[in-house]
Symmetry: D2
Subunit: 305 residues, 4 copies
Amino acid sequence: MSLEGKWFFELITPDLVMMYRVKSYIYSGKTPYQSVEILETDSLGRSLVLDGKTQSATFDEHIYHEALVHPAMLVHPNPRSVFIGGGGEGATLREALAHPTVERVTMVDLDARVVELARLHLPTHSRGAFDDPKTKLVHEDARGFLEQTQESYDVMILDLVDPLEEGTAYTLYTREFYQAALGRLNPGGVLVTQSGPGSPLNHKECFTAIVHTLSGLAAKVLPYSAYIASFVTPWTFTMAVADGDVRVPTEPAEVDEIIRERFGRRLRFYDGETHRHMFSLPSYLREGIASETRVVTDENPVFMV
Amino acid sequence: MSLEGKWFFELITPDLVMMYRVKSYIYSGKTPYQSVEILETDSLGRSLVLDGKTQSATFDEHIYHEALVHPAMLVHPNPRSVFIGGGGEGATLREALAHPTVERVTMVDLDARVVELARLHLPTHSRGAFDDPKTKLVHEDARGFLEQTQESYDVMILDLVDPLEEGTAYTLYTREFYQAALGRLNPGGVLVTQSGPGSPLNHKECFTAIVHTLSGLAAKVLPYSAYIASFVTPWTFTMAVADGDVRVPTEPAEVDEIIRERFGRRLRFYDGETHRHMFSLPSYLREGIASETRVVTDENPVFMV
Amino acid sequence: MSLEGKWFFELITPDLVMMYRVKSYIYSGKTPYQSVEILETDSLGRSLVLDGKTQSATFDEHIYHEALVHPAMLVHPNPRSVFIGGGGEGATLREALAHPTVERVTMVDLDARVVELARLHLPTHSRGAFDDPKTKLVHEDARGFLEQTQESYDVMILDLVDPLEEGTAYTLYTREFYQAALGRLNPGGVLVTQSGPGSPLNHKECFTAIVHTLSGLAAKVLPYSAYIASFVTPWTFTMAVADGDVRVPTEPAEVDEIIRERFGRRLRFYDGETHRHMFSLPSYLREGIASETRVVTDENPVFMV
Amino acid sequence: MSLEGKWFFELITPDLVMMYRVKSYIYSGKTPYQSVEILETDSLGRSLVLDGKTQSATFDEHIYHEALVHPAMLVHPNPRSVFIGGGGEGATLREALAHPTVERVTMVDLDARVVELARLHLPTHSRGAFDDPKTKLVHEDARGFLEQTQESYDVMILDLVDPLEEGTAYTLYTREFYQAALGRLNPGGVLVTQSGPGSPLNHKECFTAIVHTLSGLAAKVLPYSAYIASFVTPWTFTMAVADGDVRVPTEPAEVDEIIRERFGRRLRFYDGETHRHMFSLPSYLREGIASETRVVTDENPVFMV
């Protein structure tokens, strides 16, 4: 196989770089907030890259988005109102709307241009979700929105870009922000956030700090992880429930039963045994969390490479 | 950070290439059987690369080798004799010898030069294991050895290089070979083999075929996986027990108790919850296995990219 | 400076690869004849890449095209009719039309789509030349055209893609083709062809064979070279005159005088001293020519890497 | 051809990176002054890389070193004493000693370790020159040496590493240094320095400034260039003579005659027509020189990328 032609380089660490052979560039440009590439590769299909970081690819976006959305949505027995922070591709919205209990989803993503590009160039990510009458789409800073809204939600899903030093998303990973967000949860509500990479190489970049920060604010905090091939690394998610009485299922059969009741069908990625795989953390992640002392604040944020 | 200088390229797929920034090349050469690189990177420490494929790196070789060795060794209540096929770095040997029940380990690795280089340049991989009086090191083809030996073993650990088309190891991943190997197990014995990458991108390269092949030969076959950062992909392992009465623990507490009894201490990577993480397969691996029909034979081998 | 983002790889030799950091891809696609990329880099501006080979870039296309066109056009005292083979970007056409003596230019380029893309995306290459009433543009195989046409020309300029094994242009670098082409020259006419790379690494790929082949057919053959930064190598050109009495100037002052007479102004790259630089070959090129024995024929073509 | 394995990246500009496929790393390390790599590639043979910049490669070091040494040595009718600044590989020394008139060569190179490594790993560069009784090797700063020595020389050859911002060699490219150096020339003496890359992309980095600086100090300044394949760019050299009566030959026959008289044989790269090629500058170099206004001083040095 040849060396020639179009490659895309993405940093894993400053010493590990992933080269993707690009079949075609669908879009390259800048919005007021970030650089955007939509590119197509043989292995991963079509992917969205913001500020140099792959956000999701058609090959395995269902893994990322099911892992992000369904555990929290199924912990809640009857989620009717959902808040999504970020999630520009529309796939988080798609998965949230797939729950028949849902009556209203408020999605707040700063960057209208990314949503527009995703609707045009990544249509299978949203599959019509933006046109669903239950969807309310707002282009605003998610933090400003949550600090001012009077609404409250059964489930809040934070599908945000990574906290990069040169970006602005890092203010959506702090104690102050989480306090504001948890304050907009209805009783029995559940919050989940993507919480960065979870490989032995980089789980201390932000994952452990996010878990530790949320642990000071919520009754139960449940970190979990799933391998995302298009990121070439396990990715982490952190669920938080304010109310300690909320029950989180652990047995595969129980999860499978809840899925069956909610959907009447199987999901593509998430099921009972997958749940157990994701929520049983390998030792290094548990040890990283146990030894973490950082509380992320507006004054002392965390940044990813 | 700069582009300049020494990089090592490793293919994940023909479209995904990992670039490692190399601090130094410790050794580069060819043995009669394969090309060898021992290189040092900032992120992964010192790594061994055979025929262009990273075998292990000091940063996380304990994850790979504990995942390979301990589940099988702990399923057996009293492993006294161990066979290792391959395992040139000596770390599989090291982990096997760590079990106080072990009286004798026969390690058969074709390539004496790799063992010699690993002892010299990767001393923390073997940490003296080659000098242990319980160790018997043979440089021969593992298949030929097993077909001729009169010995039998409580545990057999196959830590082989991948089945590459241009290599010869592919004859160590066939039904005929597994039959020969299982035939050298003592009653109640356990066999485990590394079984290739387990990401959604490549789990059908050889993992599912190996599982399917062993399923036709052993009473119980237990595939599992662990993410190996230095491979930038989850890796799979497959355990097989000929005797259906052998009990494989599933509860974390039970595994932790067995570890405590055997070692009187905690291990570095492997513990009860890690066990559950590894043995609870994400849905795509289970579906890949369920839909697999290939039986790997000497006539119809499988190859990795 | 960062590693991340879009890179384009071009082979110089199988062991030397040039990486261009791409600002944007203007166009990527395939015509019936070849793959096309139009890309923008900071260093080289906008460039056209056909079948993985950079053809020209706005940064220095004037060097390539002046070097190709003007020496032959100025050797002829009064070039009125010009034939161009290839030259899809339109810059060879532009430079030919810049000669006030010219009444008619017939440009034969197989690939209409490349011409169309160049007009749209590389407008400064042609600067209106395609709309000049003196221009006759034909989309046909240049060889077929020349073998059938009744027209003849004062100057013939062969601005062809390289003779790649997988392409078809190699039939435009053979003795049979050159015979047909020289046969369409008017008395006193001059032919010039691009003749491939001229570095010590690769001048024997096709340059010396082209010179040797033309030497068997024309009274005078004058090879010359110019460094083209966007190719990161010196490039060669070979001029041939059928009539041995044609005088080729060698003194800088003489060339400068001819330029002044023809244009009444200085050119951007080509002048008397540049002429001497280009036509005085470094020793390895002369020795390569002197020791060359290959005659390129339809049966025994040459190919570039 | 495969992507896998060892590559070396070298920056041409921040947007153009050359990738060399490395067969083997002969040496990698750091001296007190710089990082050193000696590596072997298929295309270029064995090369020396200091602080990330290729210094010379066995494939074409004869081109670089003949171009640097012989023009100045042959302008002088009877060079008996030669000063070399830098030149650690020993090839400049080798070429200087090849002149039968030479009685004494003083080579001052700061970095003893580089000389030692070159003698060991690049023996064909020096071919015994370090053991020649005419050679006096000093490991000292060339500037300090010249400012203190009482010796004077017929020819001075500055074969220095590039003026990098992070290095110290930039003090050997300033008016103050050139004054000191020219002050150590015997009557009728000639100085020559390598003066950086000479492509349209980078000739203004330092070449034009060096020429302009020397022009204020010497009676005649003659810049010239030669393409060096292992640098993938033309390289420049600048010769300066303090005494305006020194005659520099320009006609190929004259140069060939001088070579014949001096050596009684032909050289490998340098001859009369090559001389004319090198000393006839393409227009952009002449224009770059003509428009240059920078005088390089200790206070206002120039740096290469």
